[in-house]
Symmetry: C2
Subunit: 400 residues, 2 copies
């Protein structure tokens, strides 16, 4: 019998994966995935970019690059981030193979088995997997309307018996909860973390996808606030603003953390794909990224509003949710006795799929929630699918 | 003070990295890197492939794919491997982000901190980093002319006090030693590992790059021998037969190992780049890969023979080496009292760079060896650079 690492025992094939395999059925209405719509990719721009590459640029694209990323993309991404107000000059930037890899590398950088970390509940499933794969002890703090529960965060951070190695948060358009932290919550949590020697990993995969101009004051990232006394490790992604198939993300982190993270990256995959880095470089440096973000932002807003309208029309009244102000997701709050996996089974029978709540609970238990994605489905399909979801919920309610 | 993971203490920025940064100087003659020559990449073929992709294929290229790889590439790669005699039907294939990631994932799959593994000495630097990052205890066994020292391998494998979790070998055109295991050594080590419940990781990044048809009987991989009673985890790469900038490798492993490895991959980067997978799929399915391998095989043979000729002409007689029969490298054996780092410093002054021996010693000590790569340098530059290397060696010999 082969002897596996004990750390594998923490990991399991998640319900969402089984769903994804179900989702291959051609007629299924997909509210499950966190991927952009295939029809929204900037294929024409990528064609133009590829066909204008010089021979030398194509050679760079085919070759190994530096661990931190090809200099071309590092330069243009720095400018992109500088425009968002991020402190690029006194931090180091690393291109990663998707932003999940950035989170994975940072986890490896800080965590020994049994170390404590603090995360939101609910939490991004990929991050949960990364944390568990390194045998972190996860303390989860509930997410409220304006952000993480500050009292519980303060208690967790000040617990000297199990002082957390880091705090992981997604303040802008949380996956799955859709939450946008208020600027007051951001300032309050900075105050809580100040001078505690507990780095903050700020996952910012979605902040470009805001729907309402008036939210801008709340969108400033914690990294951009450049708070003294906290090592903020900022992560971002090209997955939502270009294409996840490029597998490109990044981390912007203080130099001492970068030095360690680079050693880890060298042991994981040596460098991220130069080929897709070259395409991303041109996409940003040409300015095409700004027009594209504008386009998808409008489209996702239309879809989000369509889904909200449908949900308000069809859902039983006792089901609550917050209308999203950006990002990809709506997070439904079901009555306590409703198990969303049961709802899901009914929904699949009806030809529609979403993700059950417990998938995003770091402890894998809380299941009276469910995540609906509107990113990958047309308005027409949203109008067709939401009544089926509502029907499935009603059937389980009646059954109970 | 931020508290890092203890595992980082095992990792350090290697001498080769400092070299790589030095190597940016435009006029430097590079015998250091393990990358293909920029001038050898199949740029025309990639142009044709890209420009013949359908819109649907481009959408797949931009989108997340399954953790194991896009079905298109999995299918064509299976055929590619089947032609090499590999047992693709009773094993599972996973596309990885370079073959280093395959090694990293397998290490994570098997290793808890302090677990013992067995490797060759010398050993591929990327693998050493992966092993150390997971705090493996490395037992190294010397590499001899026909492969690993079998007596020492047997002793290590049968040490019940610290039974190794796996054995990691590069039987075909070893990096850095260039060694091609004889078929007799392969059979003998199968016998040693049989029924020991110790998986073998067989790193096969170079076997397509053989120079001599008469070596073919020795080139059969251990995985292709499909030995009963050993879980062979076979890893391979597109880096040497297409381009490392695509970051594509693979593992072909028994199903139970695959199941665990997939959970790890999900926590590392979710999936490998679909964009470059689509290009690799077309490169293999069109048959272009076979012509390309033929071309580079011939070119590397010319360079290897040119380097051997130069070395024989210029090296002091007491320096020995084995003429390579494939792959990228020549491994020089210096007199015991010669420190290759000292030689390297002199060489850099003269405008030529290689990699010192200790870089490839899992214990970081043995330094009377050095690795010369001929993969990334023209015959002209080889003729210019080797006399400078010989000069540097002579200066250090005289100095001692």
């Amino acid at each position: 019998m082969v002897r596996f690492s004990k750390s594998i025992n923490n990991l399991r094939s998640s319900e969402i994966r089984d769903l994804m395999s179900l989702a291959i059925k051609p007629d299924m209405i997909l509210f499950s995935g966190g991927m952009p719509d295939n029809n929204l990719f900037p294929l024409q721009e990528i064609d133009d970019i590829y066909n204008n590459l010089t021979e030398e640029e194509k050679q760079i694209a085919m070759q190994y690059g530096p661990t931190s990323g090809i200099p071309e993309l590092l330069g243009t991404l720095q400018e992109f981030l500088r425009k968002k107000g991020l402190p690029v000059d006194n931090n180091k930037l690393m291109i990663t193979t998707g932003s999940l890899q950035a989170i994975n590398i940072l986890t490896k950088t800080f965590i020994d088995p049994g170390d404590t970390i603090v995360v939101e509940n609910p939490c991004f499933i990929g991050a949960i997997s990364a944390f568990k794969s390194y045998e972190a002890e996860i303390i989860s703090v509930p997410l409220k309307a304006n952000g993480i529960d500050l009292d519980q965060l303060r208690a967790a951070v000040n617990d000297e018996k199990q002082k957390p190695k880091f705090v992981y948060l997604t303040p802008n358009f949380h996956n799955p909860a859709g939450t946008l932290y208020s600027v007051e919550t951001k300032l309050a949590l900075i105050d809580i973390l100040k001078d505690k020697n507990i780095p903050l990993i700020e996952d910012d995969a979605y902040s470009d996808l805001y729907f309402y101009e008036e939210d801008k004051p709340h969108l400033t990232t914690i990294k951009a606030m450049d708070p003294k006394g906290i090592d903020v490790c900022y992560t971002g992604s090209f997955s939502k603003i270009l294409g996840p198939g490029l597998r490109l993300g990044w981390m912007l982190v203080p130099e001492p953390i970068y030095q360690k993270a680079e050693l880890i990256k060298q042991a994981i995959d040596a460098c991220s794909p130069s080929f897709t880095q070259m395409l991303a470089h041109k996409f940003v440096s040409s300015g095409a990224v700004y027009d594209y973000i504008e386009t998808v932002r409008k489209e996702y807003k239309i879809r989000a509003e369509a889904m909200v309208t449908c949900l308000r029309k069809h859902l039983p009244q006792e089901i609550t949710f917050t209308a999203p102000r950006g990002g990809f997701y709506i997070w439904l709050d079901l009555p306590k006795h409703i198990d969303s996996t049961e709802v899901l089974k009914r929904a699949i029978d009806k030809g529609v799929v979403f993700v059950s709540g417990k998938t995003f609970d770091p402890h894998g238990i809380l299941n009276n929630k469910m995540r609906l994605s509107y990113c990958n489905t047309s308005v027409e399909k949203i109008r067709e699918g939401i009544p089926l979801v509502a029907e499935a919920i009603r059937e389980i309610e009646d059954f109970n």
